[in-house]
Symmetry: C3
Subunit: 397 residues, 3 copies
């Protein structure tokens, strides 16, 4: 029995009917079984591809991508996922950073989607806006489908919003699952999601938020560490607490990086901007107050500079479990002495984890493909089985 058949049989046991024709905004919208389904299908698609099986379930169709912030790795992950399933990526190139109005979004959404099966959106720049934009876009498509404008109902993959970064965090988690030899081994493992110093400013909060919102669902002991003033969204903290309570894990906050790293099994040191400042910035931007934005940027950089000691050093790494916690990063990292004088991580630490870091990233195309697959394919078990049994190959040689 192939790995894919095994995975398909496991998938059969999961309750995932709600995923069909549904969007993927936040991991906490989804049940545990739905998340498990994404991991399962991601592994199956990877197995099929490795065995040179065709996974091209679409003969034609578009995957629309809309990046309202720069992106290389997520863009290529989305393009790869679409291609793997037979969809052609088409980029909708709006002017960056524009906070668009409802009516325009509604029109554009329909106009580009007549033959679209999937939409991938990144909009992470403005707190309170990113998710709202994605919701407006997809509501327009839902309405367009209901009104007979669209012949099919495209589904969304959130490629990063102001709240969550599900394709990243799900890829991170699938990496952890593989590294620890199965989801059953994660219970009681300590994760340090910690802020780290960066010479740049304004990095999105969606990664730390996504991580505490997701990792707390696996019975892990999740510690969120940051200097005072670098709070994340309180709503997400609440979710993390509830998750932890439900799974027998824990979630706590600390203002000490050392505290978080102590005996940690997994560390995720990464810079982000303070939530309150990002809210202020969104308002300044909405008012077109450039002088205010410049002033805020200066303040934030000065604030950052007070916390240069928040860095993933060799010393700190030694304090983790057996001195060899799994180091995670969504990339690109600010590497001290390599990409900047002082940054998020020591060059020697980063370098030692290069191969696992790249492997971590390699799950993203499959996570995205699995999200598309589960939202589009009516009977995913049957389709996986059919691909496994088929003579159609990815490479015909």
């Amino acid at each position: 029995m192939s790995k894919t058949v095994e995975l398909a049989r496991h998938l059969e046991k999961l309750h995932i009917n709600n995923m069909y024709k549904n969007d993927f905004y936040w991991t906490w919208d989804k049940t545990d079984e739905e998340l498990e389904a994404v991991f399962t299908v991601a592994d199956a698609l990877r197995d099929l591809r490795e065995r040179n099986k065709s996974t091209r379930v679409f003969d034609s169709g578009l995957g629309i991508s809309l990046f309202r912030d720069n992106s290389t790795r997520t863009r290529f992950s989305f393009a790869s996922a679409c291609n793997l399933l037979g969809l052609e990526e088409q980029v909708l190139d709006e002017k960056k950073s524009q906070i668009a109005h409802g009516e325009t979004v509604r029109e554009t959404a329909n106009m580009v989607s007549f033959m679209a099966d999937v939409v991938g959106i990144r909009d992470d720049m403005y707190i309170g806006e990113g998710h709202k934009y994605q919701k407006t876009f997809m509501d327009a498509l839902e309405e367009g489908y209901r009104d007979g404008i669209l012949e099919q109902r495209p589904t969304l993959v959130n490629l990063q919003c102001d709240v969550d970064h599900p394709t990243q965090c799900m890829a991170d988690m699938l990496h952890i699952i593989h590294q620890f030899g199965g989801v059953e081994n994660l219970k009681g493992k300590k994760v340090a999601m910690t802020w780290a110093y960066s010479p740049s400013y304004g990095k999105p909060l969606s990664v730390p938020q996504g991580v505490v919102g997701l990792f707390t669902r696996f019975g892990m002991d999740v510690v969120l560490a940051h200097p005072e003033g670098y709070e994340i969204m309180p709503e997400v903290e609440e979710i993390a607490k509830k998750n932890a309570a439900a799974t027998g894990g824990s979630f706590r906050k600390t203002n000490s990086m050392a505290d978080a790293f102590k005996d940690a099994d997994v560390v995720y040191p990464k810079s982000w901007a303070p939530f309150a400042s990002m809210e202020k910035r969104t308002k300044l931007y909405a008012n077109g107050d450039q002088a205010g934005i410049d002033k805020l940027e200066k303040e934030l950089l000065a604030q950052n500079a007070q916390h240069k000691d928040w860095t993933c050093s060799e010393e700190l790494m030694k304090t983790t479990k057996d001195g060899k916690a799994l180091y995670l990063h969504c990339l690109p990292a600010d590497i001290s002495g390599l990409s900047c004088p002082e940054g998020e991580v020591d060059n020697s630490v980063f370098d030692r984890y290069l191969v696992p870091l790249y492997k971590e990233a390699s799950f993203k195309p499959y996570i995205i493909a699995a999200m598309i697959f589960l939202a589009q394919v009516k009977d995913p078990v049957k389709t996986l089985m059919a691909m496994d049994a088929s003579d159609a190959h990815r490479k015909n040689f």
Copy 2:
């Protein structure tokens, strides 16, 4: 018998041999039966797609798109049409607004077309230039094919030139045909193609020209309304007159929007620039006279501002047939109180027609696909029949 088979049998009766390996510049180059063939194939392709039949007639091949003016909806329509038929879109990104020289066009045209089956060009900015450019491009390809440089003869879809906008107007017309329950119900219907105020300037004339050039072929009573000074190209007016005479419809001009709207079955209120001013602008541009262009722009905006009463108001809509003429627009519209303080149409009117407007737009990908299909496929009836009978699906699940 499926709808596609029915349509294919109808197609069999039409004389369309000249469409094979031929370009689509202007609707008035085409016979009535050729236009009917485009509508028929568009409906058939839509039916096939809705029934999950594969319409991928190309296994490989490129569709080159060249937008010398910004575009979202036409670009996605072209990309969708190519994808539907199995062609990969490749964008030729020339610097915008450049009036290119013959020799360069000839070289570029051949260089990008070695594996191209289709070329889609939008060039609508300069009166007297857009069509000329498309012609130069396609003459180069015809020559390239004849000289053995190209192994295949790519065909053109005019995605908007300075004279006509056939994919738009054919989509508009197919929408009307469906709304009125068949082409046989259009005789005697009154159409108001009228100018409307916009706070911007310099919108192309190709839509009003395309509309009067096309809609007069269906026995409709077409009224072209605009303030003095907003004349369209006289050659196109001549075509509209001849069409009307031949089909038992009528074509007349008026300087009153109220006159045009009175009892109209269809209204198409839309801003455009005066033909004479656009000719002047082309010359200023050719001479690199930026000061002259800026001065002209100011004059034209002032001229526009004298006609703010040319707007599709609720009051005017009440004067149409039963107060509910079909409202058309090529989108995006200038909506009073929504996208601008005063514009082409009242917000409440626009809003009421949102669903039909989006449906109107939904025909464009199929119109483009039908134009490509009829120019590329030697025996379109046989190929439609084969797709209808085939087990190949768009979605393999």
Copy 3:
């Protein structure tokens, strides 16, 4: 027996095992039989396409293109080649002209390649940098594959570096082979690779270098002509000398265009920048010395202007073999009286060779496809035979 079968049988006799999973940097890395294999497969793929056979060996997969210098024809050639084989092109759009750092390249290379089978890179702007960049990129992928990050080992097609331009020169050579009726007719033919005046500055040296490095392998008498101060890389001259010695041809340099053209069978007059100046420019650029770069540009333009008599005139053409040497150019050319007042070639000469020039260019997509094919397909003979025998068509109508 079809032409393809004939070519496949010829391919069977060549020793090309080393091509599988290998990169194509420079023609002089490859054996004579390996180059012959590229020509053979290029002709076969063209024959298959002309006979409407499907050559889509990939069902999914990406071809990544990275152009660190502007490009239209090479870009479309690469896109066409990928499409012909079933790969979807994805453009990696780095900021132009950046001299990237090793670590960043390593990360980016892996991040975009999780589902990439092929990478095409153009980086020709900085002497000593272009090839280095490609090597760094591919070493990263080799390492990524070895470390289990990538499931497949993408292969490189050098789309132009600072040293060689193999897809161009191989297309040029395949054109010559077809024009002269076979590779066996090239022995003793005289080729004039000569510098020519251009009003612009800084054109890459990769074409003249690629030409003398490749054409000397066919027993031809290759003359490299340029004014003093326009030397190419000495390493490449050494290669040309060795090639000539090995094949019974010859390689010599001259500072007289007339000398080179005298009785030539093939002429390739083309502007390039002096090697030493390009080295200087790379250093200035690395130091961020914009004033120095501007000064150098002025000097180089002045130096160019001293050699306006280096042009491919009708008079010079008359001195070639029977007055009708085959004129080559990689396009676009600087044409006197057409694209510039004084340039590389007389308008009347260029015009007379238009059709052969475009045919020369038409080989590039097939050369690229052949390079991809031979690096990816384990048993190219078998796969060619299978495509020849298959019922799968490029156009299903």
